[in-house]
């Protein structure tokens, strides 16, 4: 099971904050596509709370993937 989290304007756009995917062998790019965010730019992605720039990595069962718009703290 892969847990996807949505934040900020992305959560507002998608209308939810969380989504589960129960499939194996997905790349990070596949997960972004499953979430319907392949055209969302700029999109920041984190895997298990670490920012990840390589969309080709394989996502493992139990991973937490976050879909994030650019940060705006401070």
């Amino acid at each position: 099971m892969i847990k996807i989290l949505f934040f900020g304007s992305i959560a507002a756009k998608i209308g939810r904050r969380e989504m589960m995917i129960d499939r194996c062998g997905l790349t990070l790019a596949d997960v972004v596509k499953e979430a319907g965010l392949e055209t969302f730019k700029p999109l920041l992605v984190a895997v298990n709370q670490q920012q990840e720039h390589d969309l080709n990595i394989l996502i493992q069962d139990g991973d937490e993937v976050a879909m994030m718009p650019p940060f705006a703290g401070g």
């Binding site: 900020g8 940060f71 401070g74």
Partner: protein, 148 residues
């Protein structure tokens, strides 16, 4: 080890509650009598942004990752600059004009590195810490996308 851990986590906090600048500066000063200069940056909510009135700002964080990113900023700054200690507190809640949002406190023997580090931390925080804000304006809600 455990008390070091607590000390470090206390030095970097994300919280709803308001904070006291004096208390944070005092906590920093208590860590060393070698501190000769302390710089702070306080970010406050303004009553307008890009020409519009702003009623309030709602903050949201990626809990866990935001704190980890701030801890790693702290470690990196302690490594990168000739400073003695530093603290970062960021509120995640709804704030209104004049309310405090973020505080960075940096102590060093000399002021040059304290200024450099303080500015680097707030710049880096905006780029690396997963926190977002939505401004509530007369024209509706608006997610802030730039790093001003």
């Amino acid at each position: 080890m455990n008390s070091d851990m607590n000390k470090q986590q206390d030095a970097v906090r994300i919280q709803e509650a308001d904070f006291s600048i004096e208390a944070e500066v005092d906590a920093l000063r208590a860590t060393s009598k070698r501190i000769g200069g302390i710089t702070t940056f306080l970010g406050c909510a303004r009553d307008f942004s890009e020409g519009r009135d702003v009623f309030s700002i709602n903050f949201e964080q990626y809990a866990g990752m935001a704190t980890r990113a701030m801890l790693s900023l702290r470690d990196e700054a302690l490594e990168k600059f000739e400073i003695i200690d530093l603290r970062i507190v960021h509120r995640v809640t709804t704030v209104h004009a004049g309310d405090k949002i973020v505080l960075i406190v940096v102590g060093a023997e000399h002021r040059g590195p304290a200024f450099e580090a303080c500015e680097w931390i707030i710049d880096s925080l905006k780029q690396r810490v997963p926190i977002w804000k939505k401004e509530v304006t007369p024209d509706g809600d608006s997610w802030v996308t730039e790093h001003p």
